[in-house]
């Protein structure tokens, strides 16, 4: 690809972008949120049309008007937005064969039994464990991601693009993916790999390209560079300390949950969080962390159990009650649950505190504005104005909005579910700083994550969750990646 | 009143020119014995209607129901929501469900012929109103649409002195409307000095739409006297037009309508209303007469193929000013209205008496 340019409503997302992939290599494409990685790959896969520039494959110039053109040329893509790439109410098998269904490669008359059998075989070959007749809507995010990966495998590809495939995957599943990628590479297929987890890049990639603000900054073999080179190229500066940990005094108990239970996903969880304390809950994907966070926030109703905030029984029949009780949640699925993408940043930020911002029900425009400007300034949200639609912000900035809307609610306890998922290193650090500040103000923080390194870097206390239970507790400094992983998966073995 | 003799009607009204049937003619000559009267009791009658909105239909249904009850029978109404295919299905259902007799209200030959033949084959007598079926052995009742139009138009011409500007509120697409239009065409030819300044009408929201559009026309012709009268081919239209004129205070414009319900009558009686006259057949009477002919058929009489129920011209002058009249007591003031004995026979009277005695 050379000289690629693309603008969205007048804003240039790509400037003279160049990119090459060779057969049989894995090429990492890196950059901060909004650098233009996905946009470039969408152009390569025909999802967007470039404004300018040329694309060549095996020396021939290609004009890609639609995904169909790209697929005909052997370019396939595992898109970053999992939900936009699957048909939720159809079966796994059908989603795997989605591409084929669109072309004459699929016979006009379907034989369902054969399709299911073929899908089962394929998944078995890949070593993936997903039931083929299940509706995709009933899968977890990780399983959906696996389906997307499997889907590319049925096609005859020359180039395969993986746009942040590992974000929702567990370590084990990630390893599986890497094995698959390796196989493809050996078969002479060119692979593009996008990720915010830099260690993964060094693990499997041959070359890396770093983008910043729609431009190419650097392309080098991974053997010749290290993490700090990449970070420097990505951010235009170096990042001194990934985990800015402030020491704050730890106060009395502000959140205490007893015997929280919902089906077999959350089984009798007890936990406490003190003022100023950051408590991390780690676990593999599917351990039940998201379910736990939703119970604490009243997003789902628990079968059993009580939650007390600052000594008072919390009302968890609905999130509205939880907010009034002083507990708030930054949910995992940011674009669907955390923010309203079609509304302005201003409106998103005032949503939980409309009561404060109004008198006799009438909203005060000036109060609303000053609230938004305050939060935008405090969190360093990059937006052209408070009136900007939130959907147009980069992932990291969207996440800041999802956190920022709670700042002025007077909440005592912040529950954050995977707040750094898909967020670039720079923004991640910003988010860690915000969390630290909240703790310094005496808030209780419950931080749910499957990134053990984050828990180690950030938390005062780490709880390990496995299969719906808290199986182990570590104080700061006690834990290592290895023993976290041990308990996160060993617990599973115990139960099995 | 003059009978222009354009009863040949449209193609859909393929029935032969009809003579109105006075009661005495249609009465069966021999009074029947008790056994045949007993046999007429407890009949299940189906009433298959094309549409049933508005007070007119409600009163018609009432007339049918009351009369059948008087004869000791029971009526089931099949409503078709102005959908002829549904009406055809309803007719089929009535035949399948083996009703003893079927009354048809509106509809047309194309839609109903097959069903009626099925009924005949099953030995179920059918009497139709305003459907112009023209099927052998099935009596077609009708109200004389052309005559109703003529009665009001002639009066309009007379009141206007044979000249003026009029507004027509009318809509095509319904057989009775299209028949009324024929009289209107003749009227236009006859009175070249009476000019139609505009014509509108919409059946889907008749009253409010007529009101809104009449208001626009009144604004367009603001001088008093620029509009002489409004001729509304349907009482729903007349209500809307009259409301608009009344609310605009243009009391020089007179409204002539067709059809009559209790509600209409109240408006015609209201001295501030511009609606001064209507030609109509009492809907309740239609129901009553309709049932009587069906019972004649049940009794096994041969009935003439077409029967016309005569319309009556009702104007405000004929109505009292001190009390409100209804279609039930209108006969006291307007000759020929209601209490028609059309279609009655001695044995039906006996039947009525026998049922009433119980």
């Amino acid at each position: 690809m050379s000289g690629i340019g693309k603008s969205f409503s007048g804003v240039k997302a790509l400037h003279d972008a160049r990119f090459t992939v060779e057969a049989g290599e894995i090429h990492a494409l890196l950059g901060a949120n909004g650098a233009g990685k996905s946009t470039l790959m969408k152009i390569l896969s025909g999802a967007y049309e470039a404004d300018e520039g040329t694309i060549r494959i095996e020396g021939r110039e290609l004009i890609l008007r639609s995904p169909a053109d790209a697929k005909a040329a052997g370019i396939h893509c595992v898109y970053q937005e999992v939900d936009t790439s699957l048909v939720a109410h159809l079966s796994v098998a059908e989603n795997i064969f989605l591409d084929r269904m669109m072309t004459a490669k699929q016979r006009a008359w379907l034989k369902w039994r054969d399709l299911y059998a073929e899908a089962e075989k394929l998944l078995a070959d890949l070593g993936l464990n997903v039931p083929v007749r299940k509706k995709v809507a009933d899968l977890t995010l990780a399983e959906k991601q696996l389906v997307l990966i499997a889907r590319v495998m049925v096609e005859e590809a020359k180039i395969v693009i993986f746009d942040e495939p590992t974000a929702p995957l567990s370590l084990e599943e990630t390893d599986q993916l890497f094995r698959i990628m390796d196989k493809l590479k050996k078969a002479g297929i060119g692979l593009v790999f996008i990720s915010h987890r830099l260690h993964e890049v060094f693990q499997i990639c041959d070359r890396a390209t770093v983008m910043r603000d729609g431009r190419m900054i650097l392309t080098e073999p991974t053997s010749k560079i290290d993490t700090s080179d990449i970070i420097h190229a990505m951010l235009g500066r170096s990042l001194d300390d990934e985990y800015p940990k402030q020491e704050v005094p730890i106060g009395e108990v502000v959140l205490s949950a007893r015997d929280l239970t919902l089906g077999n996903r959350v089984r009798g969880v007890d936990l406490e969080v003190r003022r100023g304390e950051i408590v991390a809950v780690v676990g593999l994907v599917g351990a039940g962390k998201t379910e736990l966070s939703r119970l604490l926030f009243g997003a789902d109703e628990a079968e059993r159990g009580t939650v007390r905030i600052a000594g008072k029984q919390a009302d968890l029949r609905a999130p509205a009650g939880a907010v009034e009780s002083g507990i708030v949640l930054v949910p995992e699925e940011r674009r669907k649950e955390g923010i309203l993408v079609k509304e302005s940043v201003l409106h998103n930020l005032s949503l939980p505190i409309l009561g404060q911002l109004s008198k006799w029900g009438v909203l005060s425009g000036s109060k609303e504005k000053s609230n938004a400007i305050g939060v935008i300034g405090r969190l360093g949200i990059k937006t052209s104005s408070a009136g900007q639609l939130t959907g147009f912000l980069s992932g990291g900035n969207q996440q800041k909005v999802a956190i920022g809307k709670w700042l002025n609610t007077g909440a005592e306890v912040f529950v954050l579910d995977e707040p750094t998922k898909g967020v670039d290193i720079g923004a991640k650090r910003d988010i860690f700083t915000i969390i630290g500040e909240l703790a310094a103000q005496g808030k209780g923080i419950l931080y749910l994550t499957c990134e053990f390194a984050e828990a180690l870097g950030l938390a005062d206390r780490i709880l390990v969750m496995c299969d719906g239970r808290i199986v182990k507790q570590f104080l700061r400094g006690e834990a290592t990646q290895e023993n976290l992983l041990y308990y996160a998966s060993a617990g599973q073995e115990e139960l099995a | 009143n003059n009978n222009g003799g354009n009863n040949n009607g449209t193609a859909s009204e393929s029935a032969s020119p009809s003579a109105s049937a006075p009661a005495s003619e249609s009465a069966s000559p021999e009074a029947s014995g008790d056994s045949s009267i007993e046999a007429l009791k407890g009949k299940k009658i189906a009433l298959v209607m094309q549409f049933n909105t508005g007070t007119f239909s409600a009163q018609y249904i009432d007339g049918v129901k009351k009369q059948v009850e008087k004869f000791g029978g029971e009526v089931t109404v099949f409503a078709s929501e102005n959908d002829l295919s549904k009406m055809a299905s309803n007719l089929d259902a009535a035949v399948n469900q083996k009703f003893d007799g079927i009354l048809i209200d509106h509809g047309n030959n194309g839609a109903l012929a097959a069903g009626v033949e099925k009924a005949k084959a099953a030995g179920i007598p059918v009497v139709a109103f305003d459907a112009a079926l023209g099927i052998e052995g099935v009596t077609d009742l009708s109200q004389n649409d052309q005559k109703m139009a003529e009665q009001t138009l002639e009066q309009l011409a007379k009141d206007a002195g044979g000249k003026g500007n009029i507004v027509k509120v009318w809509v095509a697409g319904f057989a009775p409307m299209e028949r009324r239009q024929e009289s209107y065409a003749a009227f236009q030819a006859k009175y070249p000095d009476i000019k139609e300044i505009t014509s509108f009408g919409d059946a889907s929201n008749p009253q409010l739409d007529a009101q809104t559009k009449m208001e626009a026309i009144l604004k367009q012709y603001p001088e008093k006297g620029s509009i002489t009268a409004v001729w509304a081919a349907w009482d729903e239209f007349a209500k809307g037009a009259a409301n608009a004129i009344k609310q605009a205070g243009r009391d020089e414009i007179k409204v002539y309508g067709i059809d009559m319900s209790d509600e209409d009558l109240a408006m015609i009686q209201d001295p501030t209303s511009p609606w001064i006259a209507s030609a109509a057949v009492d809907p309740t009477t239609i129901g009553t007469v309709h049932v009587r002919y069906l019972y004649q058929a049940l009794h096994g009489d041969t009935i003439e193929p077409t029967v016309q129920i005569d319309s009556v011209y009702v104007s405000r002058d004929a109505l009292p000013t001190d009390k409100q009249v209804t279609t039930a007591d209108l006969s006291q003031y307007v000759e020929g209205w209601g209490e028609s004995d059309q279609g009655n026979t001695d044995y039906l009277k006996e039947l009525e008496a026998a049922v009433g005695a119980k």
Binding site: P352 | V171, K219, E263
Partner: protein, 324 residues
């Protein structure tokens, strides 16, 4: 491009007004313009109801039936029960609120999708209002089926609501303007209005932001029912009787007005000002076309054509804005 996108629909109305004014000297008179406004007052209330339900990402298909029900309820209050004016007005409003409550029960509790639930309610209410009057229209001293006469009449004071004037302006027009301005301010400047908009934007995200979305949706449906009820009361006051099935045609008309409104000021979503403009446009067209003496069936073509044109301007451009 941006300009036509934003002002396309308004300019379009301007052109239509200009055309009719030039064509007919009586069109652009105070009397005719207020007549137009009066003629759209009922449908505007219904359309505001639809707008509110669409704002919370619902769709209230039962508004037409609610108009039918409340208009006969209003009339029977006077004609059958000889109630005082206050009761005559309050009862149908309560009925409208009750319909809204039932709708929201089906939608929020039973979780039937909005359109389906309100369609079912539409049938039910249509049946109820006919059962209530046994299919008869309600008018002063009406003939009852038992042969007696109804005791009451449609009160003069009541009819004034639909036919009277205040300071030379038809009263229904005043009511309509109050409702339009009120609803606009409500959505723009009040907490509850904002809550409705946000609920409509993404119900789950709004719920997880601490909104009681079920309650918000319930209020929206109640408001929609009440708006339809006001439409029904106005209908009765306007025609001086309670007509059966009076509201049925209003549903589609209201929806059309709301949809034209999407294009106003480039909103691309339901909005009160747009809805009002949409209703005005329809009213102007019917009035003007009637004065042009076009056949009634041509009205429909023009109405559809205008809808397409107005929307084409908005949506073609809104697309361009997004990807160009």
């Amino acid at each position: 491009m941006q300009f036509t996108y934003k002002y396309g629909a308004l300019i379009f109305i301007g052109v239509v007004l200009l055309f009719f004014s030039l064509y007919n000297e009586y069109f652009f008179t105070y009397g005719n313009l207020t007549d137009i406004l009066r003629s759209i007052s009922i449908v505007t209330f219904v359309a505001i109801g639809v707008t509110i339900s669409l704002t919370v990402d619902g769709f209230d298909l039962s508004v037409g039936a609610t108009v039918s029900l409340t208009t006969v309820v209003t009339a029977t209050m006077m004609v059958w029960f000889e109630m005082p004016l206050v009761v005559t007005i309050i009862v149908p409003l309560l009925v409208g609120a009750l319909v809204g409550l039932l709708n929201s029960f089906l939608i929020v509790k039973v979780r039937i999708p909005d359109m389906i639930a309100t369609l079912a309610m539409m049938y039910i209410i249509n049946g109820i209002h006919k059962t209530y009057t046994k299919g008869y229209a309600i008018y002063s001293n009406m003939q009852m089926s038992d042969g007696t006469k109804a005791p009451g009449v449609m009160e003069k004071d009541f009819l004034w609501i639909g036919q009277g004037k205040l300071l030379g302006v038809p009263f229904p027009v005043i009511l309509m303007l109050i409702a339009v301005i009120g609803a606009h301010l409500f959505f723009k400047y009040t907490r509850w209005g904002r809550q409705m908009i946000m609920t409509g934007g993404n119900e789950e995200a709004a719920r997880l932001s601490g909104l009681r979305v079920k309650r918000v949706r319930m209020y929206a449906y109640i408001a929609s029912g009440v708006m339809a009820a006001i439409g029904g009361i106005l209908f009765a006051a306007r025609v001086g009787s309670g007509q059966i099935d009076a509201g049925s045609p209003l549903l589609m008309e209201a929806v059309a007005a709301v949809f034209v409104g999407y294009s106003v000021l480039g909103a691309g979503r339901p909005n009160i000002v747009g809805t009002f403009v949409g209703a005005v446009l329809t009213g102007v067209l019917i009035n003007g076309l009637t004065m042009l003496h076009v056949q009634y069936y041509v009205n429909d073509i023009v109405k559809g054509g205008v809808l397409v044109l107005a929307l084409a301007v908005t949506f073609m451009n809104s697309h361009r804005k997004k990807t160009a």
